[in-house]
Point group: D2
Chain length 315, copies 4
């Protein structure tokens, strides 16, 4: 018989943040663009939002930062919602991969040139054209709006400084996109520079771990926004998102996270982590000191502690 997870209290959460704080010293901020290097690496915060309407916060939970790769789950969601699974999957697989987030190898070695997964850069870029919108800028607006709606926070916005920085440091992503254009994963009429602008724009959404927790809760409830009872997307899409998160959400330590933590999780180099306890809870974490693989080092420790405490693994 399945035991109910232990209930979480404010005190317990604060104690966990306190215990994980020193782990921030084992990491460092992302450095590929100057603006990310400005983050204070000692920061650590968490927010947990549950189906009972409780929103617990501890540490630097209100601090804002750029969403970075976490937006990939929203881009994938919108592409599936707006164009349907069949059309999207013509261009992007949902297969697991150990390859790095910016790998070009599988594009070049797999026969059909399809990016393996919407959780890696190539796959996410390939999803973007399937999002609703007359122009690529409209498509990125749609994603920003979807983030706002799920978080219930109209103040969420694109950070223009981060956007400009991403854009000027985007050679690898340009390589991925032009490669996919050359193999028709990105169709010929799509302007790669506009596509990358849209992509970088969505990566530069600034929000807090509280926002992440609320977004996570929507996925935990299979697309239903509990605050207003509106179904934002159907269960099939929610499940596909969660499955791909388990397989590829934490770069090339996804397997480690699946086995140690057991929750659908997506991290970003901005220091954010979004994690889902299906049917129960959304979790947002912020900690800009990253481990060697690009995820918040103290954030993952905190998430592991939390999952163990609540016995929340889906496995």
């Amino acid at each position: 018989m399945q035991s109910r997870p232990r209930l979480l209290s404010q005190g317990v959460l604060e104690k966990m943040v306190c215990r994980c704080g020193p782990i921030t010293k084992d990491g460092a901020q992302a450095s590929y663009i100057p603006i990310l290097r400005e983050a204070d690496p000692s920061r650590l915060g968490i927010c947990v939002a549950d189906n009972a309407g409780r929103v617990l916060k501890a540490g630097d939970a209100e601090e804002t930062f750029s969403i970075q790769s976490i937006v990939k789950i929203v881009t994938f969601t919108c592409s599936l919602l707006d164009s349907g699974m069949d059309r999207v999957q013509e261009k992007v697989s949902v297969e697991p991969t150990h390859d790095g987030f910016n790998s070009i190898i599988n594009l070049a070695t797999k026969n059909d040139s399809k990016p393996l997964n919407p959780m890696i850069n190539a796959g996410s870029i390939a999803c973007l054209p399937f999002v609703r919108g007359g122009t690529l800028a409209d498509k990125s607006d749609r994603i920003v709006d979807f983030v706002k709606k799920m978080a219930g926070n109209p103040d969420i916005h694109v950070d223009e400084d981060i956007f400009q920085s991403e854009r000027s440091a985007g050679s690898r992503n340009r390589a991925l996109a032009y490669y996919m254009k050359s193999t028709d994963v990105i169709e010929n009429h799509v302007d790669v520079e506009e596509l990358l602008d849209a992509y970088f724009r969505t990566c530069s959404i600034r929000l807090s771990s509280v926002d992440l927790a609320k977004i996570a809760l929507v996925y935990a409830n299979n697309g239903m926004n509990r605050t207003d009872g509106v179904e934002l997307f159907p269960k099939e899409i929610a499940r596909m998102i969660k499955a791909t998160m388990v397989m590829c959400g934490v770069y090339d330590e996804s397997g480690e996270v699946a086995t140690r933590i057991g929750l659908p999780t997506k991290s970003g180099v901005g220091g954010g982590i979004l994690s889902i306890v299906p049917n129960q809870m959304g979790i947002g974490i912020y900690g800009p000191a990253l481990n060697a693989k690009g995820s918040s080092v103290a954030g993952l420790a905190l998430l592991e502690m939390l999952s163990a405490y609540m016995d929340a693994s889906i496995f």
Copy 2:
């Protein structure tokens, strides 16, 4: 709030087998060894064992066949149980991969030469030396015994004809093993031929889908054998097994299975499928007509139908 899965009845199960029967025509038996070609491709059977002690069967549920790759979850379990996670993970990762079950590419391109996953051949072969036993033959005996114990069936045995066939057709597995010996994943004192004999022996265990369902139920209950209340292995191991099954259990369609079916699943070229509804149910399926990727074509269809009916996806 999570709805309870719909209850399954004998009638429903039989109807599903009936509906999936024609799908067997879309596949063909494995052909790399003659003996597997002898299977009747029109066979299809299923057994579901649950925590209420119910054991439902439909179709060719009692038919026996070789366990093949499904034994990998037992080998991994025993290696973790007997040598501990740390020692095993020095030699085998638990990262997802899209590569084929017999791929040598990652062994050759990843810096540390570690097989990515215990669910692919290389990883499973590398796990075997960590199973308890004075000799490699003892280690394979231990795995056979563990299968018997989980299934509660003393009649399960190694099929000598299949074993001899596997052995004589084992060039690719020999290549994998010798490669790993050359990179010290398999330690120098291990005799590769004996290791492969042990490996092929465990692949040749003959059992039925009823046995698979009962084994699956032990994993569903995180290592606890519900019939006698004995804990065969701790929850941590059960979770690691289920997580790796989701990521890599169904060869290079693991991602498809995770998103469409959402249950920890392992298939074998003998036609068997073992699938787990955590905390509730074990599922065993037999259908020797395989799809192009090496899994039972009608079996996967049946499993998808069943998962949808019960709304059982873990995601």
Copy 3:
């Protein structure tokens, strides 16, 4: 004792063109840009220029076409001449590879990310910044001028239509260039779009097989222009060019060409072939019907016949 090569006569050359003519039917024009598809696939011409000052022509020797990949030997020559071997080799290796001309795999798998060879697209693009010139446009002008000088033909020019076509179909080359920028093979200050414009411009040089033969003769004489006695580049550079041509000059059939023909050879998708009999002779061929690997199908047959006739293999 080495026998002297048989002397070539006008009649012999014409007979060879005649015999190889029907082979043009086994190929087809390049089709990745519309303008190359306009070429007449039945064309076949050859010019041989030797140290005695003889210039033999047969078939469509005066027909002009775009130089395409053959310009890579000139780009490599100019980069070595203008920046020295050491600087160029910091960014580009001279190792053989079987990979296709537009492969990105080795860039992604070799540790230092250096393109393997200046005869493949990535390597040639990486050489271009080392050519003398204040701007990238100046660098491409330098290459065009060098081609004119070696051919002794002031009428050689860039075909603007081909240039525009190449440019608009350049996604794969953009991917290669941005990838190399992301790994610092192309330095950060270099504008990739300008670099590719320069690259496409040099690929669009229009000339005839007579021009190719004269250029080849300069390489045959290790950099010395026999018509005016001027040394255009030193012997060390000539040898490096010829060695890389043998290893990689004919895409992924370089090995076949080395063993069957045995002459330093470079082909282009415009239908041209430039081949060198060291110390004796320059050969230019035109035949726009390409084989599956991108070289003139009848042109290679003609070259093999010629090499056999003259017993000219360097091996």
Copy 4:
């Protein structure tokens, strides 16, 4: 006009060995088997045999050592001679590759699974079955005999201690061979263990740099043994051997050697180097201190000095 190479004298050769002696300190003996570690790393010797019948020796020219990879040119020669180019090339390509001598990657990524080149381990193992002989032992005897005949030295023999060492350290080669058996490059009836015994036996042939020089001279003369006027193999085979040596004879520095030295060359981890000046001269070198890529470090320096002195590059 081609200048004649400068004539070599005993004094010049001794001076070169003297100058290159200190370079031996930059390398180390092969260490993958204990017996190779016993070689004295300070040794350096050379022998040059020419068409005038002169045999110049300097340094440790008479020292014997194991032929190792240099035997690959003999194995390839015998396979072409005994089975014809067409049959051999069904199983082995002659394309250049930058991959290491024991790489398995191309076997696994190229569609047809053919080893790229008879100068790398996989390709050489695949050539062996094409050598004449009722058993695999007979085939290795044929290769040993061919080496003796070319060198005109009946005392050349297989070193049993080295053979046993090679054999017991052969996991990587076993991996390559079993992999090729699994893809039918090595046909099903061939016993891999016997094949590897034959392979290791030929690698363990013990000879001196004088022997290598005489063997090289046969290739320099396109198969003709100048001492007795007997044609051992036709020119077509000689050319194919020399071309593959230029492309792949010196492991992954073949390109460097082609551009810097410009002579068909094959090195072995026993410290030997065999190099050919076409139509003129055979060169044998011994220096067991190897560079990081597995060739004699002082030996290559000596060869470069010699080639430059004689202006002998074929390019």
